[in-house]
């Protein structure tokens, strides 16, 4: 990664210091809440592939997240498979769901608001199905058997959970950076900026968009699987609910859509704000979402490029060497 300004270095440094600092705070609350934020950040990184780089704004990323979580939970609870198999299957199921939704939506040429609505409808259909069939645990959800240990991916020790998640987030961000600098990434951005011109330049835009949905689905499925392993319980509202879809898109938009750091920075910032209000106003369900909404509206108006884009204008550094010279 190469940053263009002191502002961006500052922003990233702040995030890293915070993430490292969590180890040294004695209160377990901080770590617990940061763990949750990291899982949401994974969903945000998933949204960022399609919504940020591809300009394909989904309002139903819960469809991918929930499919990952349910695939793993069903394999473990109903068929007794090992959690690691569930882990792999969850990622694969997320990718397959992404490819399915993308494959259908793009086959019929849906874009913009229509794409947003159709993803939302898919998430709702899946939510209602998951809450209605016995196979998916119906209204009462699915509960994993408590089997602590790495063999079943159930880690009890919080610092280890936290470290593991940090590694996963870092890997996904690294993959995002690789995508950004690859042929595929350039094609995706070209499609976002001007789909006709991209098609004229020999890009199979349909194929690229479906692939992007599949990658996004894999990341989203990963987030869902990790949520399951952390809480050992899922139901249709928790993993297919609209709150998941909303959280997946809010973080990247505030942090900077189509950037490597934006989704993590936006999600962390929002969750810090939300946690702050929880401490100021305890017993206030939903107030964090009110706050998210206010921040989102302000960001759309005043930070069109998100935090990362805003920071890029603070203390711009002169380019020392030319890229790929």
């Amino acid at each position: 990664m190469r940053f263009q300004s002191l502002g961006q270095y500052g922003l990233v440094l702040f995030a890293l210091v915070y993430l490292a600092g969590v180890y040294f705070v004695s209160s377990p609350v901080w770590m617990g809440f940061t763990i949750n934020a990291l899982i949401v950040a994974l969903a945000a990184l998933s949204w960022n592939i399609t919504g940020g780089f591809g300009g394909l704004s989904s309002f139903g990323h819960a469809a991918l997240y929930g499919t990952g979580a349910y695939a793993s939970a069903i394999l473990q609870v109903k068929y007794g498979f090992n959690a690691w198999i569930g882990f792999g299957a969850g990622i694969a199921a997320g990718a397959a769901m992404g490819a399915l939704i993308g494959g259908l939506a793009f086959r019929y040429g849906l874009k913009g608001s229509y794409f947003a609505l159709v993803t939302l409808a898919f998430a709702e259909v899946l939510r209602i199905c998951a809450s209605s069939f016995e196979w998916t645990g119906g209204g009462s959800g699915l509960q994993l058997k408590l089997m602590p240990g790495i063999a079943q991916l159930q880690i009890v020790d919080r610092p280890w959970v936290y470290t593991g998640l940090l590694v996963v987030v870092a890997v996904v961000m690294l993959l995002t950076a690789l995508i950004q600098k690859s042929r595929f990434g350039a094609y995706l951005i070209a499609i976002r900026e001007n789909e006709d011109a991209a098609e004229a330049l020999g890009i199979n835009t349909y194929q690229i968009k479906v692939q992007a949905m599949a990658i996004s689905g894999a990341f989203g499925g990963l987030a869902g699987v990790l949520y399951l392993q952390l809480w050992l319980f899922i139901d249709s509202t928790v993993v297919y609910g609209s709150a998941v879809s909303v959280e997946a898109l809010i973080g990247p938009i505030i942090g900077g859509a189509g950037t490597v750091w934006g989704p993590l920075l936006g999600t962390l910032g929002l969750h810090l704000l939300g946690e702050g209000t929880k401490h100021l106003l305890p017993n206030s369900p939903g107030l964090n979402f009110v706050l998210y909404a206010v921040v989102l509206i302000c960001a759309l108006r005043f930070l069109p490029q998100g935090l990362v884009g805003f920071a890029a204008r603070i203390g711009v550094l002169r380019k020392k060497d030319q890229d790929d010279a």
């Binding site: 600098k181 951005i189 330049l201």
Partner: protein, 246 residues
């Protein structure tokens, strides 16, 4: 190299293009002229696969390409540019060109190197690291050409590359197009500015109200009454004749 036969397209009762046939020989620069709304761009979009023709065939390099999607046609070596140039705003100039180069160079390093070469050849050398959105109109027109060249296409369909440019910029782009031709490319060029085409094209087709009305060298065309009337209105040719005699 390109053979278009009996191409027709109707939009809700309006015959946008009817029965257009034209040939482009390898290595040549051919013009496609006509007043605004004559159906030139519609012809391009059909040849390049963006809209389906109602009837007619397109053959490129000996292959039937009628109905192929644009990205497949580009892969075969024919590419169109757009009249309204819109660079990929989130990318630098060099990355924009690389999007074209990625077609045959899958590694970023190679694609970026190709992009750098082509950018320099088209006079964008000093701007390679700039955001594409910062380019002037003339710069964007060059970028559009560079992106198209980077795909390795042999035949370029250029849609009004000179529109919106001042005379000195037009001269520069005329030189660039000549240079592209001498590098072995073939060009089919839409223009409604006659003078620009006069300088470049060996022969040209004139389209009016969706029909081909003339074909010949630019010199033949400017003295063709039907062409003059298409541009200046009914009876204009006669009035011009009178003016010259008076």
């Amino acid at each position: 190299m390109l053979e278009v036969r009996h191409l027709s397209k109707t939009f809700g009762g309006l015959k946008a293009v009817s029965d257009v046939s034209l040939d482009v020989q390898e290595g040549s620069i051919i013009g496609l002229l006509g007043p605004n709304g004559a159906g030139k761009t519609t012809c391009f979009t059909m040849i390049a696969g963006f809209t389906k023709a109602d009837s007619g065939q397109v053959r490129f390099a000996g292959r039937e390409i009628t109905g192929l999607s644009p990205h497949k046609i580009c892969r075969l070596g024919m590419i169109r540019t757009f009249q309204i140039v819109q660079p990929f705003a989130g990318l630098t100039v060099q990355e924009n060109i690389a999007v074209g180069a990625y077609l045959h160079h899958h590694q970023r390093k190679e694609a970026m190197a190709v992009a750098r070469d082509i950018g320099k050849r088209l006079g964008l050398g000093g701007l390679l690291d700039r955001p594409a959105a910062s380019l002037t109109i003339a710069g964007r027109k060059r970028l559009e050409l560079a992106r198209a060249l980077a795909t390795g296409a042999k035949l370029l369909l250029l849609d009004e590359v000179m529109a919106g440019l001042i005379p000195s910029e037009i001269n520069e782009i005329v030189d660039i197009i000549r240079q592209i031709q001498s590098d072995g490319h073939t060009i089919l060029l839409i223009e409604h500015v006659m003078q620009a085409v006069m300088k470049l094209a060996e022969t040209a087709y004139v389209l009016n109200q969706g029909r081909l009305i003339a074909h010949g060298t630019p010199q033949q065309l400017v003295s063709d009454p039907s062409v003059v009337e298409a541009y200046l209105g009914h009876g204009a040719a006669a009035r011009l004749q009178e003016g010259q005699h008076a």
